[in-house]
């Protein structure tokens, strides 16, 4: 029996710093996805929202918030929170309902309004919270990205010029994307002239935080066939696995890794796509394009290796050869990635799926990856949350 579900519609609100309520953005994205699917909102049976934690109670019950904004119509409702993987967990909830036969048509939605500057922890003196401890010490999110970047330089000989080339590639992709926030081609000189944030990463190496929204209309394969959309792109896998003890890479927001004296060391990032490949019965060689979480330029290179698109330590040479740009063998972040979007946490994993859907339909315009058949996403956030989603046609 197929474990796939169909993606009938996708929609986004352009990323930016618009300063409006996240609900406004979500409604725009949902209506775009409904129109794209040709579905009347009143027919949607399940609303699966990805929560935002910086927008008060409405953000914490995002599923109900969007259901109310779109007009109460008696749908079942759910809200998921999993940091950067919130959208994927919301999608997984919809898939479970669909595959169990509880519903056949669902809206999956995430939207955010973000504050300016560093993402900061909740207020109050909370020494039991590692997120409080690390900020008290001055360890921000870019600290971790920079530690990984420096490690790549020491282990594999990557250079800051390689990292800049990731930004340049993604900026070329994103300037063709109407939903991207930053639509400007960058030069190596501009990246090199941007201020240092966390050595070796400069401002142009690190992603911003943004406002934005993304929504999907997903359905059972039966439903898709009944409405003449049996050929719609399908979700073939959703991996939201936790790390495996002993988690050996220092991860946000922790001060220390697990100790690996009693159990073998494992990499969390590598585990996420491995589970997705297993679930889809698809291998890295089948992948046409990847949307990965380039919180920093250097992190994109880590993800390429974790997705097994090349051997460990070889991502920079893949980049240098042009393989990861649109037109290359395995385009990465054809959307422009976080470099051009900035992070709108609950919407980001869904935005990745929107991009894969447009690519697999051949609707990505100037950034179209030729004959795209299989796409994979990867992202990771705080406290062992991450996801990888495979979309195929």
């Amino acid at each position: 029996m197929s474990r796939d579900i169909a993606i009938l519609g996708v929609g986004m609100h352009p990323w930016g710093k618009w300063g409006r309520s996240f609900v406004d953005y979500g409604v725009v994205a949902a209506r775009a996805a409904l129109a794209d699917a040709g579905v009347d909102w009143r027919r949607v049976q399940f609303v699966s929202g990805a929560a935002t934690i910086r927008n008060g109670y409405p953000g914490q019950v995002a599923g109900a918030t969007f259901a109310q904004a779109l007009g109460w119509q008696g749908a079942q409702v759910n809200t998921s929170y999993a940091a950067c993987a919130s959208g994927s967990q919301a999608l997984a909830a919809a898939r479970s309902r669909i595959l169990s036969g509880e519903c056949e048509l669902a809206l999956v939605i995430g939207a955010d309004t973000t504050p300016k500057g560093f993402l900061a922890p909740a207020k109050g003196e909370r020494p039991d919270d590692p997120d409080w401890v690390r900020f008290r010490l001055g360890i921000t999110n870019p600290t971790y990205f920079a530690l990984y970047a420096r490690r790549r330089m020491a282990l594999y000989g990557d250079s800051v010029d390689d990292f800049a080339q990731v930004k340049i590639k993604n900026s070329e992709h994103g300037c063709e994307n109407p939903n991207a926030r930053y639509r400007k081609r960058f030069t190596p000189a501009e990246v090199a002239a941007s201020p240092m944030v966390a050595n070796p990463l400069r401002l142009m190496d690190v992603c911003a935080t943004s406002d934005g929204a993304a929504a999907l209309i997903v359905a059972s394969i039966d439903y898709a066939r009944r409405v003449g959309r049996g050929d719609a792109p399908r979700v073939a896998a959703i991996s939201t696995v936790t790390p495996t003890f002993a988690s050996s890479t220092i991860e946000m927001p922790d001060i220390a890794t697990d100790s690996a004296v009693a159990a073998a060391a494992h990499s969390f990032r590598a585990a996420l796509p491995a589970k997705a490949y297993e679930e889809a019965g698809i291998g890295p060689a089948d992948v046409s394009l990847a949307e990965v979480y380039d919180l920093s330029t250097a992190l994109e290179l880590d993800w390429i290796e974790d997705l097994q698109l090349c051997g460990r330590g070889e991502a920079a040479s893949l980049l240098r050869g042009g393989a990861t740009r649109v037109g290359g063998r395995i385009p990465v972040n054809a959307s422009g990635g976080l470099a051009c979007f900035g992070e709108a946490v609950p919407a980001q994993a869904l935005a990745q799926v929107c991009e894969l859907t447009w690519q697999l339909r051949g609707q990505a315009g100037a950034r179209q990856v030729r004959d795209a058949k299989v796409g994979i996403t990867a992202n990771q956030g705080l406290f062992g949350h991450g996801s990888a989603v495979i979309v195929k046609r």
Binding site: P127, L147, R151, A256, D258, A265
Partner: protein, 144 residues
């Protein structure tokens, strides 16, 4: 001028002994897994049901796994000097414990002085100050 009160920014996370500074960790008496910060109730090794821990000082020397710096003033609860002073940050691999521990690098040591793989040692130094208090933290320092 009155002398400022000195206190650790977190109680029970590190100590200054006769042999030097060390982090206060714990070790599961069943499987031997080390913890920092200390774990005292349940072992997080999924193959271990241990609930007994001994407090142990962690190795005060390790190798530099990676490093960076904080060029911009971090948000609260970080307490910044005025004007803000950028500082380096180290991730140090402890061989015996097989874990990596983060910490600020001592004042006056810039990223230019650091190399992945170099030996590092733990010291205690001022993290932040208010009008009446001086908050101490563990920090990493290149070892001789």
């Amino acid at each position: 001028m009155t002398r400022k009160t000195e206190k650790p920014f977190l109680e029970g996370w590190f100590a200054q002994g006769e042999a030097g500074a060390h982090l206060l960790g714990s070790r599961c008496t069943s499987c031997g897994t080390y913890y920092f910060p200390r774990q005292a109730r349940f072992c997080r090794n999924p193959a271990c049901a241990g609930e007994q821990f001994e407090e142990v000082p962690l190795s005060r020397r390790g190798r530099l796994w990676s490093y960076t710096d904080a060029c911009y003033q971090p948000p609260e609860p970080f307490i910044a000097a005025d004007p803000y002073l950028p500082f380096a940050i180290a991730a140090v691999e402890l061989e015996q414990e097989q874990m990596i521990v983060l910490g600020p690098v001592v004042q006056g040591v810039d990223v230019a002085a650091l190399t992945v793989g170099m030996p590092m040692e733990l010291v205690v130094e001022t993290l932040s100050e208010t009008a009446t208090e001086r908050h101490l933290s563990w920090k990493w320092k290149p070892a001789p």
